[in-house]
């Protein structure tokens, strides 16, 4: 059949776009708090104030005439990331991983000249990537170094972890891996792989690309069964702490693992997408109901993480446990 019945979807606890907008975003996220997450610079300063690690800021460019300063600014760096401060969905992010004299290289190996980088920066300032085309600011950050755990799981670029945090409790997590098809980007609809991560353990549960289950990374052929995220507790605690930091009740926290500095927050999202349900092969609704049923929100992020790990662990959930096993036995058979 081409479509499935809404009843089945509801039974499975899938949250739809309308329900996300109405029941979660509009309900838990007061509009006035949006600038805190829509403006990446504000998020960064906020996080630093809260003692949360963020990628190092190398510089900002506010006006078109600042573009001239770009060359001087970049002289001392060989690798960096250029981002629009108000960009959304990974738009306008330019990663430079290598430089030879005046030639800059993207992780894919494509070469850019300084002029091209300047044009990109100018476009960002003009507001090309911002919501509503408003003038924007450019921020230049240090490049995150790939943690060896992920070697073989990422094609060009660093994987990032998306954690959905409801009222301070992490409820679902997904690792986004860039692929050749996604052109090194971590956007699921462009072909990045989404790997559902067990909140309880940090182990991979299930992976999808283009909405279909996959068991190995499409480019490196490495199986996801061995994938386990290190520093899992610290990572979840970081995500949970973003609730106090921003006041937003329904939050998507994007975290990367740096080889040297460990987990870092790179972006917060007040309207996180719904693909995470496909990557986890589970609906958000049962978990949302668990949190909404709570009488008391624990002020301590660590205790909240403990709660989440206990209740949202894949093995404790009768729904998802056998499925995981099944997926794994499939993989073993392939081996």
């Amino acid at each position: 059949m081409f479509l499935i019945s809404p009843k089945q979807l509801r039974e499975f606890g899938i949250i739809g776009m309308n329900q996300r907008n109405f029941g979660l975003v509009a309900r838990y996220n007061p509009r006035r708090l949006y600038p805190l997450v829509d403006d990446k610079l504000k998020t960064k300063f906020l996080a630093q104030k809260a003692g949360i690690t963020v990628p190092k800021l190398l510089g900002t460019l506010l006006y078109q005439h600042d573009v001239r300063k770009l060359e001087k600014l970049l002289t001392s760096y060989d690798e960096f990331v250029i981002k629009p401060v108000k960009g959304s969905g990974g738009k306008g992010i330019l990663v430079i991983s290598r430089r030879e004299h005046n030639c800059y290289f993207k992780p894919s190996g494509d070469m850019l000249s300084l002029i091209e980088i300047k044009r990109h920066v100018s476009n960002i300032i003009s507001g090309l990537h911002s919501l509503g085309g408003k003038p924007d600011t450019v921020m230049i950050e240090s490049l995150i170094k790939l943690d060896p755990v992920f070697s073989g799981y990422s094609y060009e670029g660093v994987p990032d972890l998306r954690v959905i945090v409801l009222k301070g409790y992490p409820i679902m997590a997904m690792l986004r891996l860039a692929t050749h098809a996604s052109d090194g980007r971590a956007n699921l609809h462009q072909g990045a792989v989404g790997v559902g991560i067990d909140i309880g353990t940090g182990n991979a549960l299930h992976a999808v690309q283009f909405g279909k289950p996959v068991h190995r990374h499409p480019d490196t052929r490495k199986a996801f069964t061995e994938l386990s995220i290190p520093h899992w507790d610290k990572l979840l605690t970081l995500a949970a702490a973003c609730y106090e930091m921003t006041g937003l009740g329904y939050l998507g926290v994007d975290i990367v693992l740096d080889r040297d500095q460990g987990p870092m927050i790179i972006e917060l999202n007040a309207r996180p997408g719904l693909s995470i349900q496909i990557a986890n092969n589970a609906g958000l609704l049962p978990r949302i109901k668990t949190i909404e049923a709570l009488q008391y929100i624990d002020p301590n992020p660590e205790s909240r993480v403990d709660f989440s790990k206990k209740y949202f662990c894949a093995r404790s959930s009768p729904q998802s446990a056998p499925r995981t096993k099944h997926a794994r036995s499939n993989d073993l058979a392939l081996l």
Binding site: L3, Q277, I278, P322
Partner: protein
């Protein structure tokens, strides 16, 4: 909960207000709910001719009485240099023309537009009859009349059947001696009516002459037909004096009741009145509007769009369609989940499609956007600032539009000239957005969003050009309230979108197959 309750109360109130106003306009003011209701309107023209002889002139002409089953749209009087007044006498309305001196042939016109109302006219009971006056016949005629009356009386049961029998026997093909004696007396219709009234008076029945006009299109030089109306003690019954059939015939306009003359001319000779009738089809909405303005009764009408000049009314025709387009966008995005580039860009495109017609419009839209995308991809190499680039795209779009118009004009395709109806700035932004989308998310996303926008625009177009929708949105602006209520309800919809049933399909299928 509180908020939801408040919203639904609001929705309910808006809905009731909207539907109530629509029903009021429909039921009380007679606005038709569907556009196809056309009504036959007759334009009756009475022409009065006479010859004046350098004397003071006074012309009096009977005018048709207003009655509920025939609605008069308007009445015109045309008479060169004559004093004119409309008199309301006990016996009916009369027009009076007067002049101190006139010479030679004179002509007056009276023009009346009339249409039949849907309302069933109540039986005409108001006026009481006079006592019948016994006629003065000579002995021979009296004997013949008595014989005829006796015969009719024997064959009938009441006033109605008696009158029918009497008319029948006067119209018989093979008259008896008595009948022919009487019949020979009636050389024209008026005398026949007189005879009937006299005969009925002998029987003690009140009767009166009724003159009227059969409304048939394309008739000229008609004269009024004589009918006879008989009072049976409680009500007046109308009879055709030639057939004996009772009741008001279809499409018959009663012009005059009672024995007064139709036309009196003092100071002139050779006077005559003739009638011509033209048939005309008008939408019943126009008739109701005319009726309202006539009666000064529709307070609603006075403060409605109809009170604006025609030019503004036409502008509103288009503006009032916009809410329909907005509703389509809401449904497409919230219920179906189609992605469009720009929220209301499709509505603007569909407005343009209304002017250009569908197929030509879509072809032109595709040509302009794809040509724009090509040139825009070149512009992106030129390293321009955003505002300058969009301005450049606007100029490019104008150039494409102009060349498209000129080329198609040379080729003899007048359709493409309407390309100017496309909103220029919106097109330029669409091109810019699509081009950025292409660079960032690839051509697939451009196709998805482009197709989504076009499909939404086409659906909105189909709704907005629907004859009924167009009619309703303009004539019942109250529908906007109903529309608003729907949009408010849709704003609360938290169910799945149609596309999500597809999006999450694999997820469910897998779980079903996993379960033992």
């Amino acid at each position: 909960m509180q908020a939801t309750f408040r919203l639904y109360t609001l929705v309910l109130l808006i809905m009731i207000a909207g539907i109530g106003l629509i029903l009021y306009k429909h039921l009380a003011l007679g606005f038709p709910l569907l556009p196809d209701e056309k009504k036959l309107v007759w334009i009756v023209e009475a022409k009065i001719d006479f010859i004046a002889h350098d004397d003071p002139i006074k012309v009096s002409f009977a005018l048709p009485p207003k009655n509920p089953d025939m609605i008069f749209l308007n009445e015109d009087f045309a008479s060169p240099d004559y004093g004119f007044s409309e008199l309301k006498l006990k016996t009916g309305r009369r027009a009076q023309w007067s002049k101190r001196l006139a010479e030679g042939p004179q002509t007056f016109f009276y023009r009346l537009s009339v249409y039949k109302s849907d309302r069933i006219a109540a039986a005409h009971t108001a006026d009481k009859p006079h006592e019948p006056i016994e006629p003065e016949f000579d002995d021979v005629l009296k004997t013949a009349a008595t014989a005829l009356l006796t015969q009719a009386r024997n064959k009938s049961a009441d006033t109605e059947t008696f009158t029918r029998e009497l008319i029948k026997s006067l119209n018989t093909e093979s008259p008896t001696q008595n009948q022919s004696l009487l019949i020979n007396k009636q050389s024209n219709a008026d005398e026949k009516t007189d005879l009937l009234v006299s005969l009925l008076a002998m029987e003690g029945i009140s009767a009166r002459i009724v003159r009227g006009l059969f409304l048939e299109g394309g008739r000229r030089r008609q004269s009024l037909a004589n009918f006879i109306e008989v009072h049976d003690g409680t009500r007046w019954i109308l009879f055709n004096q030639d057939t004996g059939r009772s009741g008001l015939p279809d499409n018959f306009l009663i012009w005059q009741r009672g024995g007064q003359s139709l036309l009196d001319v003092v100071g002139g000779t050779n006077s005559r009145a003739s009638f011509s009738i033209i048939e005309n089809v008008q939408s019943s909405r126009d008739l109701v509007l005319g009726d309202m303005q006539d009666k000064q009764a529709g307070g609603i009408i006075d403060f409605s769009i109809y009170s604006l000049p025609i030019e503004q009314q036409n502008a509103f025709k288009l503006i009032l369609l916009l809410p329909i387009g907005a509703l389509v966008v809401v449904v497409m995005r919230l219920l179906i989940g189609i992605r469009t580039s720009g929220t209301f860009m499709p509505v603007l495109i569909s407005l343009a499609l209304i002017e250009t017609t569908l197929v030509a419009g879509i072809i032109m839209f595709l040509i302009v956007v794809s040509a724009g995308l090509l040139i825009r991809s070149y512009l992106s190499h030129l390293n321009l600032l955003l505002v300058a680039r969009i301005s450049a795209v606007i100029i490019v779009v104008i150039t494409i539009m102009a060349s498209l118009s000129i080329i198609s004009h040379k080729l003899g395709l007048s359709q493409a000239l309407t390309v100017t109806f496309f909103p220029l700035i919106i097109l330029a932004w669409t091109i810019e957005r699509m081009s950025v989308l292409w660079e960032e998310d690839g051509p697939k996303e451009v196709l998805i969003q482009g197709a989504g926008s076009l499909i939404t625009a086409i659906v909105a177009y189909l709704f907005m050009t629907n004859h009924i929708v167009e009619y309703l949105s303009f004539n019942f602006p109250e529908l906007m309230l109903v529309n608003l209520a729907f949009i408010l309800i849709l704003g609360q919809y938290t169910g799945y979108r149609l596309t999500e049933l597809f999006r999450f399909k694999s997820l469910i299928q897998q779980n079903v197959s996993d379960k033992p």
